[in-house]
């Protein structure tokens, strides 16, 4: 059994909402797991069941070899960072950090040392006497982290902790969280709806949709090898291009072009997925794109336009190429990096 083990966990809220369906998942000690999915897919619910803040309708959760289903959150030895931080408004930063330790009956000197160590690690030593209301968003974020770290819990749980920060700070804190987790080595689950955040933080990623884990794997595995239409569309930015097509005798006919020798015996209506970054320009290629808009990011250009059949399409090329608005590009798929999905089930078929 691994460190954290979820077995057929289901959550049905009293009002009948089925938020999580028979989810099974194992997380190893020290691993950084990210739950990613659109808003309302049940990521928070899953996390809160691990914390003990929601009852488990069905299934088992084991942490460090012990069944957690009936264990009170205060006894689980887990720490959580909330989206709005949930700092204790009437306590100064020091007491915010110390409160959990006091409740565990740890003596004063040890508490002081632990709090000071955590404060140093998070660079909040200067604010220990301040109340949370006198801190900036980033500082509050650090205090929330500190409160989790100082207790040295079995597992860290993060519920979208960066979504209240501005873009620049978000990227900075993302990096710090990753560094910190590597330094402290605590098993962590991080919930986010932002796929970039998910990709950059995760050791392993669980893409969740409608209360079901659609795919589980390392960020690169999931990016390179999405198992369903949903995962393919959700992971990657800008989004994968999707084209309708038909697969027969290992030949895919999309509107305007054909691909032969496809590694699949599937026959029928399919969706063809091509990432914007897996295209390159060449003479008389498969796809012809009429350029409508170019976003210059510096390192890259994002080229938006339409295919012959008026379908929107995106192409990503290095920033040093100049591309004229209104021109026609002829694009090839690099190294056969395309994905074919069964149109009716969304399952990958190639």
């Amino acid at each position: 059994m691994s460190f954290l083990d979820l077995k057929n966990v289901t959550k049905i809220y009293p009002n009948g909402t089925k938020a999580v369906h028979e989810t099974s998942l194992s997380i190893d000690e020290g691993e950084f797991m990210v739950f990613v999915g659109p808003s309302g897919c049940g990521k928070s619910t899953l996390l809160r069941m691990v914390a003990g803040l929601e009852d488990i309708t069905e299934g088992d959760i084991n942490l460090d070899g012990k069944l957690m289903n009936e264990v009170d959150p205060s006894e689980r030895d887990v720490a959580m960072v909330f989206q709005n931080y949930a700092l204790y408004p009437h306590m100064n930063v020091y007491n915010n950090l110390a409160y959990g330790l006091k409740n565990r009956g740890i003596d004063k000197e040890t508490i002081e040392q632990k709090v000071n160590d955590a404060a140093k690690l998070l660079q909040i030593s200067d604010y220990l006497q301040r109340k949370p209301s006198m801190l900036s968003g980033g500082q509050r974020q650090r205090v929330a982290m500190g409160r989790a770290i100082v207790r040295n819990p079995k597992i860290f749980l993060f519920d979208e902790p960066l979504s209240n920060l501005d873009a620049k700070l978000r990227i900075q804190m993302r990096l710090e969280i990753k560094k910190l987790q590597q330094k402290v080595g605590v098993t962590s689950i991080f919930v986010t709806h932002d796929q970039v955040e998910a990709m950059t933080l995760a050791d392993r990623l669980a893409v969740i949709n409608n209360g079901i884990i659609e795919q589980l794997g390392t960020p690169i595995e999931i990016y390179d090898n999405p198992k369903s239409l949903f995962v393919a569309g959700f992971i990657g930015s800008p989004q994968m291009n999707f084209l309708d097509g038909n697969l027969k005798n290992k030949t895919l006919s999309a509107e305007g072009f054909e691909i032969k020798d496809i590694n699949s015996d599937f026959e029928g209506e399919v969706t063809l997925g091509i990432r914007p970054e897996h295209l390159s320009q060449s003479e008389n290629a498969l796809i012809s794109l009429k350029v409508e808009l170019v976003e210059q990011l510096g390192s890259d250009n994002l080229v938006y336009g339409q295919l012959k059949n008026k379908k929107d399409f995106c192409y990503r090329c290095p920033g040093n190429q100049t591309i004229e608005k209104g021109s026609n590009l002829s694009l090839n798929i690099e190294n056969n990096k395309y994905y074919i999905f069964d149109k009716s089930t969304g399952k990958r078929v190639n």
Binding site: A51, G52, M80, N84, A86, Y88, Y99, N103, R151
Partner: protein, 283 residues
């Protein structure tokens, strides 16, 4: 800084308000420092007279009543104890029952809340006979417990605490739970400090409520040693009709001034808490 006409008007209104509050008290105080005869013949006074110490000494220490044993000082103490007991218990009980109603989501929480709320319709005066019966059956007449106990439940305070607790975000409780807080420590470590202002305000209101009780102590107490200030006020006013001597008007004023001191002290002690909470919301 330039003073605008609007500000001047605002200040005039404020000053008038202050005068309206302060002048009657000053007149009472000034009048309490004269001879009763002076007041009776010349009317109320604006300046301090020479009988201050004598009048106050007499009011505080003269033994009165049928038994000639109870003094005004004793009545102040009685009222103070009664009001303190009522206010403290009211605040503690309402805060705790509101906590139970908001945080322990048992099925009957809502009906119970409404039941508590409905008791607003039956104040003590309405249920005074059953209350008296219960208290006297318990053998609590002529005791502080008997004075205090029937008044310690408060629907109003429960309601206000409940409304306040409902505004505290759930994450705070969840976060505290994960930090190892149990039901009791969440109440003591979080709800109490967060509702300091509320507690101070409630305490003041309830203290004044307890201090100004009249009917209940009147019915409850037969022994003069449990008489309260408001009862004393009645006595000091009826006394002169017994035809013994001239009405002791100056002493009445002294008594009134003295009777204001305990509530004023409570406000003065709690106002720092109270005002601090009003200007900085920590949530």
């Amino acid at each position: 800084m330039k003073i605008k006409p609007l500000q001047i008007i605002a200040h005039i209104i404020l000053i008038l308000g202050v005068l309206l509050m302060v002048v009657p008290i000053w007149i009472s105080f000034a009048s309490s420092s004269h001879d009763s005869v002076t007041i009776l013949t010349e009317g109320m006074k604006f300046h301090i007279g020479d009988q201050l110490a004598r009048n106050y000494n007499e009011v505080l220490n003269e033994k009165g009543g049928w038994s000639e044993e109870v003094t005004a000082a004793k009545m102040f103490i009685n009222s103070f104890i009664m009001a303190l007991g009522i206010a403290t218990l009211k605040v503690v009980i309402s805060a705790m029952s509101a906590y139970a109603l908001v945080y322990y989501r048992f099925k009957l929480a809502v009906p119970i809340f409404w039941l508590i709320f409905i008791t607003l319709l039956v104040p003590l005066e309405v249920r005074i006979f059953p209350s008296y019966k219960i208290v006297s059956d318990l053998g609590l007449t002529n005791s502080y417990t008997g004075l205090i106990l029937p008044l310690v439940a408060s629907a109003t305070a429960t309601f206000f605490f409940r409304q306040f607790y409902k505004t505290i975000p759930d994450e705070l409780l969840e976060s505290a739970k994960l930090d190892g807080a149990n039901g009791w420590s969440f109440f003591i470590d979080f709800l109490v400090p967060l509702s300091k202002t509320m507690i101070a305000a409630m305490f003041i209101f309830m203290f004044v409520y307890g201090y100004s009780q009249y009917l209940w102590p009147l019915i409850m107490t037969t022994a003069e040693e449990y008489w309260t200030v408001v009862m004393g006020m009645k006595i000091i006013y009826t006394e002169s009709y017994e035809g013994v001597a001239l009405p002791r008007t100056a002493e009445r004023f002294a008594y009134i001034i003295l009777s204001m001191i305990p509530p004023v002290l409570v406000v003065v002690f709690l106002q720092k808490w109270f005002i601090k909470g009003l200007i900085q919301t920590e949530k």
